[in-house]
């Protein structure tokens, strides 16, 4: 794969069309196998567990897809969901990125019209693996545009199994990113393709692809900022061409119009500052285009005059535009940036101001090991790829470099955006590996052919003979450059104009010393490179099989007496759906909202779509309050059941007690009577006997540890916090336990009804009746009143 077979042969050897055809067929089959690899490496979760939807958000997407298939696209568009965010409800049609749902719905429709009766769930489970195959192919196309087929194939195979992407696209991980990464890469491919060809056809396709990306994921802002940056880079470095204009201007106009059609984006496409960069560059490129046009029709002297005029006018216009922009941006409270975007620019922003964003683990900055975990050896290959991209630097390769740099920065801000880095790293590493193989095999072939053919003097002679074995860099570079400028001309009708412009830029960079390594070194280096690739494959397969395949609703643990399966979540949701009224409201921390609506079909107060901070803060306040105040808050929200996740018995670390400080912070952010220091002893979060009384009396503590002491004969040892709990024996006055799952991971409580009678408050009697709490009906602590 290292040798760019067809590129070289295409132009130089009319005598070997067979070889040319063979190369294409080989590439085709390699791509097919890459697709199979990308699909099958993601099936570990189905094989090891079962064919289920994973985690949290995918359950929402699954539920939306079911709705779409049942009710059709118009009802989906107008869907007002009254079973979540009670009592506010949520306009799902206008707040969801519909790309994934529509994709899966279309796949389901097509399959059913072909009489393939797959269930909706199966379609949803396997959407992500299918689209990762597409993403691998898109990577091939993109890298091929940058550096040729060899690099393309290498990049594709790397992307097919990059752990970072696998973590978001295993079978069952039915989330936006599953299709969005494909859309992202494909949009970039079409942009590069347009840039290389100057074809309006590809520019239009590019807009449509961008539209699909906007439909799929909020990460589309990455595209609409990266491409303008690249355009600006090209202009600044004097690489402006009409191809650049064709690649950019239609994208902005059509892309913005199309993006505004997506309900969730709507006017944001022109109103928020995430999109302003594209408009600014749109103006700049027109100014530049005008300047070039005027330069073409005027004499140099006249042009000088005109340039002065234009520059002065341009400066004025720019100042005006900048002033307008600043005014618009400054008039909005967050300076026009949404919280998630601001946290991209200022990594500390979220943790300082928005606990609800900071509370999500995937919004935290990544650690160094996570880079090694997620992109593995690619991290070391990327610099080599950058160097390869500089030799020679073309529009396309500069774009790839820019893409890499930006995504490295963003991945350093938010661990979730590692996903955007992965394709860039794969492309770079693909280029690097391909170039390395190229050099090594070329050296080996050079030595071998010199050994076998002692008469070998002129390399040019060899090429017709050997066809696919370029021997000298100068030649190869020449050929490639020729190719780069020729290929568009075959496809484009306007080749004359293009070719006039291009060689002036390209031919300067073709000077390059021939690089031939000693044969031993080549063999050794080849061996090491293959070894490196081998490590990568081993690591990726391990990551796919062990690290990223857990569905997180079913947990397993290996211990000395075998495999344990913890299916408590589904047990609890099944209990809810079978034992509660259909209109009952279930309160839990927002993490479990999507699952409760999708699996238990019960109304929830808050869910993973964290659009209303106040509502979440209300639940957080209730969880942090003492029992009575919590009862009043929940009762005012018509809550019947409260669900808590507790890992202390089996050692499940991501339970509600570990998330509790976020509830306190988010609750305290809106209702100031909840203060974080009240829950900390000397700045330490603890639940043992040193814990503060506020902590020990909070609803979350009580609901988590109620009757916990009965499980281990009076000790109450929490296996997650590795300590004995602080308050062991207590009774609940306003809540009653109705269900606890087998491993105590989910506990469901019911709100006790209000007392039928109000008994007299014991006045002076110090006797047994002190536990009675007369309720007067006034709700002072209730934030709703």
């Amino acid at each position: 794969m290292a040798v760019p077979v067809d590129i070289i042969t295409k132009q130089t050897t009319p005598s070997s069309p067979l070889r040319f055809a063979f190369g294409n067929v080989l590439a085709f089959f390699i791509l097919l196998l890459i697709g199979v690899l990308a699909f099958s490496i993601r099936l570990f979760s189905v094989i090891k567990y079962e064919s289920v939807i994973h985690e949290f958000d995918p359950y929402f997407n699954y539920r939306v897809t079911q709705f779409l298939i049942k009710n059709g696209i118009y009802d989906f568009w107008n869907w007002f969901d009254d079973r979540t965010w009670y009592p506010l409800g949520r306009v799902i049609g206008g707040t969801v990125y519909p790309g994934l749902t529509l994709t899966a719905g279309t796949i389901w429709k097509v399959l059913h019209s072909l009489n393939i009766p797959l269930s909706v769930e199966s379609v949803c489970v396997f959407t992500a693996p299918v689209f990762s195959a597409f993403a691998a192919w898109a990577t091939y196309l993109l890298t091929k545009e940058v550096k040729g087929t060899g690099a393309g194939l290498t990049a594709a195979v790397l992307l097919a199994m990059v752990p970072s992407y696998i973590s978001r696209s295993v079978a069952g991980s039915y989330d936006n990113e599953a299709v969005a990464i494909f859309a992202l890469i494909f949009t970039f491919y079409l942009y590069i393709k347009t840039l290389n060809t100057g074809s309006l056809f590809y520019a239009t396709l590019n807009s449509i692809s961008y539209f699909y990306m906007v439909c799929s994921w909020g990460g589309y802002t990455f595209i609409i900022n990266l491409i303008p940056m690249h355009v600006l880079l090209c202009i600044v470095t004097g690489r402006y061409s009409s191809r650049l204009y064709i690649a950019y201007a239609p994208l902005v106009v059509l892309g913005t119009l199309l993006a505004a059609l997506v309900p969730v984006v709507g006017f944001n496409a022109v109103m928020t500052s995430e999109h302003f960069a594209s408009f600014l560059v749109f103006i700049v490129i027109h100014v530049v285009a005008l300047a070039y046009y005027i330069k073409g029709i005027l004499s140099p002297k006249m042009f000088k005059v005109a340039a002065t005029l234009v520059v002065s006018v341009g400066v004025v216009v720019c100042c005006a535009v900048v002033a307008v922009l600043v005014a618009v941006v400054a008039s909005s409270p967050t300076k026009g940036w949404s919280g998630r975007s601001l946290s991209l620019l200022d990594p500390t922003y979220a943790s300082k101001y928005i606990p609800i964003i900071a509370s999500v683990s995937e919004h935290q900055p990544p650690t160094w090991p996570s880079y090694f975990m997620d992109i593995n050896v690619l991290a070391f290959l990327v610099p080599a790829g950058i160097i390869a991209c500089f030799a020679p630097l073309s529009d396309a390769s500069s774009f790839v470099i820019l893409y890499l740099v930006m995504s490295v920065y963003f991945s350093g801000v938010m661990v979730r955006l590692m996903l955007v880095l992965a394709p860039a790293a794969c492309i770079m590493s693909g280029i690097a590996l391909s170039e390395a193989f190229d050099v090594f095999t070329r050296s080996i072939k050079f030595h071998i052919s010199r050994l076998s053919d002692t008469l070998q003097t002129d390399v040019v002679d060899i090429i017709p003979g050997n066809g696919a074995t370029p021997q000298i860099d100068v030649l190869k570079a020449d050929k490639k450059e020729d190719l780069l400028k020729e290929r568009p001309s075959r496809k484009s009708k306007k080749k004359e104009k293009e070719n006039v412009e291009k060689p002036s830029i390209k031919s300067k960079k073709t000077e390059k010393t021939p690089l031939v390594l000693p044969i031993e070194a080549s063999f050794f280096a080849l061996f090491l490179t293959v070894l490196l690739g081998g490590f990568y494959v081993v690591h990726s397969v391990w990551a796919a099989a062990e690290a990223y395949s857990a569905p997180s609703i079913v947990l397993t643990s290996h211990s000395h007496d075998g495999l344990h399966v913890f299916d408590d979540f589904r047990e609890a949701y099944a209990w809810l759906s079978h034992n509660t009224e259909v209109d009952d409201k279930v309160a839990s921390w927002w993490d479990y909202g999507y699952q409760t609506t999708a699996m238990a079909n019960r109304t929830v107060i808050v869910d993973n779509n964290t659009w209303n901070n106040t509502h979440i803060a209300t639940v957080g306040t209730a969880m942090s309050s003492p029992e009575k105040a919590a009862w009043e808050i929940f009762n005012s929200l018509d809550v019947k059941y409260v669900l808590v996740v507790f890992g202390g018995l089996v050692g499940y670390p991501s339970d509600d007690i570990n998330k509790f400080l976020w509830m306190v912070r988010i609750g305290g952010g809106v209702f100031p009577h909840i203060k974080e220091p009240d829950y900390l002893r000397d700045g330490q979060y603890r639940i043992d006997s040193e814990a503060t009384p506020t902590m020990l009396n909070s609803l979350m503590y009580k609901l988590s540890y109620f009757r916990f002491v009965e499980t281990d004969g009076g000790k109450g040892y929490d296996r997650v916090r590795r300590t004995e709990i602080g308050k062991k024996h207590f009774k609940l006055t306003h809540f009653e336990e109705v269900f606890t799952t087998h491993h105590w991971m989910v506990r469901i409580y019911k709100l006790k009804p209000q007392k039928n009678r109000i008994r007299v408050k014991p006045k002076k009697s110090k006797s047994k009746t002190s536990s009675a709490t007369p309720r007067t009906g006034s709700m002072k602590k209730n934030p709703w009143h």
Binding site: D82, P87, G93, R757, I758
Partner: protein, 435 residues
């Protein structure tokens, strides 16, 4: 379907209540009367006879009878319980404090007559219902200003009070003219407790103390804070009557004339009979029991109930409210029934208009806010059972095609767009074919 789920809640009526007396005729029928001794049966016969004459089936038992039980096989045997046994320490059979409270909590009614030196058991039951008797069990209510003029008694413990609650529902439409004779222990209520009502209170000059001893310290209960007779309506509309005197139920008090000290009028008959008879009508749900049926809501101009409303829909809401007269359901007429259209707070609050035949209705425009609303009626009128209806109904925003298609204000923009398109077309034609 959520539209069919209709919450008709007279607060938390337990299913067992429905078996005890049918909601169609809420008046109690079977009454268990527990007595200290059977002498009370004759000495208080006037009271019992008035109950019997109204059709109640009285079952007299000694409180210590080992055979008494309130329920069998999980079903209650009685609809109401009358405890005229102030001195009982322990009931016979399976009845105890918890059983009596469960009886109330499942919607049944209770009449308690305490007295001086009541047992701890009776006092505890009263405490659980929200009434606290004077801590000193031997104390009596003494009133030196409005005592009943009497030839024999001189310690002013037989008092004549006419400080009654002003409620026609509880006391009937005929005003009780004569003062009510009372001799017994006083109790106090927690003012924050809105379920318990003072029916007969003592005069401002009254106090509660042990009459045979000198007052060493100020009495704990004084003035009109002393309640002589109280009623409780629990959240499940179970009704409880608590009186601090057993003798006020007696034939002697029913028949005796009364003259309040300081007044010249001497009444032929004390108000006891009228008061206690009317109270028993109220306690046994012959009066003041409401029901709400046929909650309907629909868009103006339609008749079917929708599953969901849209913002700014015009809708009509109606409900029928009837009052139980003891024998049949009569239309309830009032002008203060209010409907809330509620989502965390009432967005619409309207007084329902009535056609005097029991039908209450109103119409309003759904507010410009979407979410899950409730039609809520929280009707708490003094003496009446609580009506608490809530019915969930979601309100959705406009569909994408329900907005105005062409806005007059936007015509300049339409014009600009189409002129631009035409201009571009002409320009293109000229540019291409004009060489």
């Amino acid at each position: 379907m959520s539209k069919n789920i209709f919450f008709f809640v007279i607060l938390t009526i337990a299913p067992s209540l429905l078996r005890a007396f049918s909601p169609e005729s809420p008046t109690d029928r079977r009454v268990l009367v527990l007595l200290d001794d059977f002498a009370i049966k004759s000495s208080h016969s006037l009271y019992f006879n008035s109950l019997k004459s109204r059709g109640f089936n009285l079952d007299f038992k000694l409180a210590s009878d080992p055979q008494i039980s309130l329920q069998r096989y999980g079903n209650y045997l009685y609809d109401a319980l009358v405890l005229l046994c102030p001195s009982i320490d322990r009931f016979g059979g399976s009845v105890d404090q918890a059983a009596i409270l469960d009886f109330v909590d499942s919607g049944h009614d209770l009449i308690i007559a305490a007295d001086v030196n009541s047992s701890e058991l009776i006092r505890e039951v009263a405490t659980e219902c929200g009434v606290e008797f004077d801590e000193d069990a031997a104390s009596m209510v003494i009133d030196h200003s409005s005592y009943a003029v009497s030839a024999t008694e001189g310690d002013h413990t037989l008092i004549a009070s006419n400080d009654l609650i002003k409620s026609e529902v509880i006391l009937g439409s005929n005003k009780i003219e004569a003062p009510v004779l009372f001799k017994g222990i006083g109790h106090s209520l927690n003012p924050a407790n809105n379920m318990v009502l003072k029916v007969l209170s003592a005069s401002p000059a009254a106090y509660s103390a042990y009459p045979k001893a000198k007052l060493s310290s100020p009495p704990s209960l004084m003035g009109s804070a002393i309640s002589l007779v109280s009623v409780v309506q629990a959240r499940n509309n179970a009704r409880i009557l608590i009186a601090g005197s057993l003798s006020m139920f007696s034939n002697r008090f029913f028949r005796s004339g009364v003259q309040q000290a300081g007044t010249a009028t001497k009444h032929e008959k004390a108000g006891n009979e009228q008061l206690l008879t009317e109270l028993s009508r109220w306690v046994f749900h012959e009066r003041g029991h409401l029901k709400a049926v046929n909650v309907r809501h629909h868009k103006v101009g339609e008749t079917d109930e929708p599953a969901i409303y849209r913002i700014k829909d015009d809708l009509e809401y109606s409900v029928e409210i009837y009052e139980w007269s003891g024998t049949s359901w009569k239309p309830y007429v009032s002008n203060d029934v209010q409907l809330q259209f509620y989502m965390m707070s009432p967005y619409v609050l309207k007084t329902l208009s009535t056609d005097k035949k029991g039908l209450y209705s109103t119409s309003f425009k759904v507010p410009d806010a979407y979410g899950v609303f409730q039609f809520k009626i929280e009707y708490e009128n003094l003496g009446y059972t609580t009506l608490s209806l809530s019915k969930q109904i979601p309100v959705r925003p406009y569909r994408h095609n329900e907005y105005e298609r062409f806005i007059p204000a936007a015509y300049p923009y339409y014009g600009a767009t189409f002129s631009m398109m035409a201009g571009l077309f002409i320009f293109t034609a000229v540019h291409l074919y004009n060489k």
